[in-house]
C-alpha cells in the first residue's frame, strides 16, 4: 500500500503541471528577494469592473478569476502579484506581474508559454520594459513598448494583459 501510494505520488508530481506554482514562487523570489513570505488567493473580478476594464483595454479576461499574491517581509506587506492568462495565437500564455505596494510594476514574467512561435516574448529585456509602469501608463506597442519580430500576436496579447492587471490592482487599491 505504502509503495503504491508513493509511486502514485511520484507519478503525480511528474505528470501534473506543478511547474506553474514553482515558477511563480521563483519569479517572486527573484523580484523581492528570498526573505519573504507569500500568501495567495483567487480573486473573483466583479462583473461590472471586469466589463469596464475589458472595454478600456480591448481584451477580455481569460476567466472571471485571477490569482492575487501578497508578499510580506517579516510582517510588512511589501508588494503584490497578479497571475493571469491571455490567449496567444491559440493557446494561453500564463504571466505574472509584480507590483510594489503603490501599484507600480516591479517585474513581469512569462510563467508558461505553450506556442511553437513567439517564444521571444519571454525575454528578460522585453519584460523589463514594463518596470516602473502604473495604471496611468500607455502600454502601447510601438510607443512605450517595443515589438518583437515573429512574436507580434503574443506581444500585443501580453501587453494588453499586463495593462488589464495593472488597472485591476489599482481598482483594488481604490476600494
Amino acid at each position: 500500500m505504502l509503495i503504491i501510494t508513493f509511486l502514485i505520488l511520484i507519478l503525480n508530481l511528474i505528470v501534473l503541471p506543478q511547474s506553474i506554482k514553482e515558477n511563480v514562487d521563483k519569479a517572486i523570489e527573484n523580484c523581492f528577494g528570498k526573505t519573504i513570505r507569500i500568501e495567495y488567493d483567487k480573486l473573483k473580478i466583479e462583473d461590472k469592473l471586469k466589463i469596464h476594464i475589458e472595454k478600456e483595454v480591448g481584451q477580455k479576461f481569460y476567466s472571471d478569476e485571477v490569482y492575487l499574491y501578497r508578499i510580506f517581509n517579516e510582517n510588512n506587506l511589501i508588494g503584490y502579484g497578479l497571475l493571469d492568462n491571455v490567449i496567444g495565437k491559440s493557446l494561453p500564455i500564463t504571466f505574472l506581474v509584480l507590483y510594489d505596494n503603490s501599484g507600480t510594476i516591479l517585474c513581469s514574467e512569462i510563467i508558461k508559454y505553450r506556442e511553437p512561435y513567439g517564444g521571444a516574448v519571454q525575454s528578460k529585456d522585453w519584460n523589463e520594459q514594463f518596470k516602473g509602469k502604473n495604471h496611468n501608463s500607455d502600454f502601447k506597442v510601438g510607443k512605450d513598448i517595443n515589438g518583437i519580430s515573429g512574436a507580434t500576436i503574443s506581444v500585443y496579447s501580453v501587453t494588453k494583459g499586463i495593462k488589464k492587471l495593472t488597472l485591476l490592482l489599482n481598482n483594488i487599491f481604490d476600494k
Partner: protein, 354 residues
C-alpha cells in the same frame, strides 16, 4: 507507518488540488485569419498600363488544442476569389500536429512552412511593407512556400532554432525567370525518395532586433533532371523606437542544369511618424531597395545572366488604424540590367489579420 501513509495520501491530494488550481489550459478550438485586397497598376516598358483589382488572399486559420502539449494548427487559403480552369487557387497551406514539450523542445508534422527567410512563416499583411510581398519573396525565397514535412524547434536563451525535413523541389520546373519558385510541389504527391533538409538559427534577445539565417539542401528531382540545390539566406529585422528596418540576402546554388545561381537582396527603412503626434494609428512611410537576379549564373552565360537581373526602388506608406488592419500605398520603378528597360508599378492595398 500508518501516519506516514496518511501523510503521503494527504500530500497526493494537496498536490492534485494545487495542480488543478494552476491548470489553465482547456481543450479549445481557435479561429484566426488574414486577407488582402489589392489594386495593381503595372506599366512594363513601353507596353500599355494594365490595372486590376484583386482580393489576393483570403485565409482562415483553424486550431485545436487537445491539451497543453498537443495541438493542431491549420490554414486554408483561397487566392483571387474563386477557382476555375487553373485560375485562382485553393490551398491547404498549413495542417500540422504540434507537440510542445517545453520551450527548448517541440516538433510538428503535417503540412508546414519551411523556416526560410523572414516572411514565409509570418506573412500576414500588417507584418510587411508594400502592398505585395517584397519581390525578393516572390523570386528568391518564394512565399508562401508550404508542403509536407516535419520540423523540430527549440527556443533557448534567445536562440531560436528550427530543423526541418521537407518535401523535395521539382528540378524540371526551375526557370531563369523565377528560380526555384515553380519547383515547389505544394504538397501535391511530392517524390518521397528525397527531401529538403533545412536548418535555421535566429537570435532574439536584443530588444526590437531579430537576426539570423538558414541553410537548406535538396537533391531536387524531376522526370528529366536531377539537381543539388543549396539555399542560403541571412535576414534581420529591427522594429523599435518608431524605426522599422529590414534586410534579407539570399543565394541559391544549383550544381547542374541551365541555371547555376539565383541571388538577391533587399532592404527596407520605415519610420512611424505617429510617435511625434501621440496618435494611436501608425503612419509609416518607407523606402525599399531590391536587387534581384534569378539567373545570376547560368551554364550558357552571356545575356541570360543580365536578362533577369533588375533593381527596384520603392517608396510607400503603411497606415494602421489598429495593429491588425493596414492600408497601403506604394510606387516602384524597376530597371532591367540588360537593356535598362524601366517598369513602373502603383499598388494600393487593404489588409487585415485576426
Amino acid at each position: 507507518m500508518k501516519i506516514f501513509n496518511l501523510f503521503l495520501i494527504s500530500l497526493l491530494l494537496i498536490s492534485n488540488i494545487i495542480a488543478q488550481d494552476f491548470d489553465f489550459n482547456e481543450p479549445k478550438v481557435s479561429i484566426g485569419g488574414y486577407g488582402e485586397l489589392h489594386y495593381n497598376s503595372d506599366k512594363i516598358g513601353n507596353q500599355p498600363t494594365k490595372s486590376s483589382l484583386d482580393f489576393h488572399r483570403f485565409v482562415l486559420f483553424l486550431g485545436y488544442n487537445w491539451n497543453e502539449k498537443w495541438s493542431l494548427k491549420s490554414e486554408i487559403e483561397l487566392e483571387h476569389n474563386f477557382v476555375r480552369n487553373g485560375q485562382g487557387e485553393l490551398e491547404l497551406e498549413q495542417a500540422y500536429i504540434n507537440y510542445h514539450h517545453a520551450d527548448w523542445f517541440g516538433f510538428n508534422v503535417g503540412v508546414i512552412l519551411p523556416s526560410i527567410g523572414l516572411l514565409n512563416e509570418f506573412h500576414e499583411p500588417p507584418l510587411f511593407f508594400g502592398t505585395e510581398r517584397p519581390v525578393y519573396h516572390n523570386l528568391i525565397i518564394s512565399t508562401t512556400w508550404f508542403g509536407n514535412g516535419a520540423s523540430i524547434y527549440s527556443f533557448f536563451n534567445g536562440f531560436d532554432i528550427k530543423l526541418t525535413l521537407f518535401e523535395t523541389l521539382n528540378s524540371d520546373k526551375f526557370s531563369y525567370s523565377q528560380g526555384i519558385r515553380p519547383g515547389r510541389m505544394k504538397g501535391y504527391f511530392p517524390d518521397a525518395s528525397r527531401f529538403l533538409y533545412s536548418a535555421r538559427l535566429d537570435y532574439l534577445n536584443i530588444s526590437g532586433l531579430k537576426f539570423g539565417g538558414s541553410v537548406s539542401f535538396n537533391n531536387a528531382k524531376g522526370d528529366s533532371t536531377n539537381t543539388d540545390v543549396i539555399i542560403s539566406e541571412i535576414h534581420a529585422k529591427y522594429d523599435a523606437n518608431n524605426i522599422v528596418a529590414v534586410f534579407e540576402f539570399g543565394n541559391i546554388n544549383y550544381n547542374s542544369g541551365i541555371l547555376r545561381k539565383s541571388q538577391g537582396f533587399y532592404f527596407d527603412i520605415g519610420y512611424n511618424f505617429s510617435g511625434f503626434f501621440d496618435w494611436d494609428a501608425k503612419i509609416q512611410p518607407f523606402v525599399r531597395y531590391s536587387d534581384i537576379n534569378t539567373a545570376s549564373k547560368t551554364s550558357s552565360g552571356g545575356l541570360n545572366e543580365k536578362l533577369y537581373h533588375f533593381k527596384e526602388i520603392m517608396v510607400g506608406i503603411s497606415i494602421k488604424p489598429i495593429e491588425q488592419i493596414v492600408f497601403k500605398l506604394d510606387f516602384s520603378e524597376r530597371t532591367r540590367e540588360s537593356d535598362k528597360r524601366k517598369s513602373k508599378f502603383i499598388n494600393l492595398g487593404a489588409g487585415y489579420m485576426f
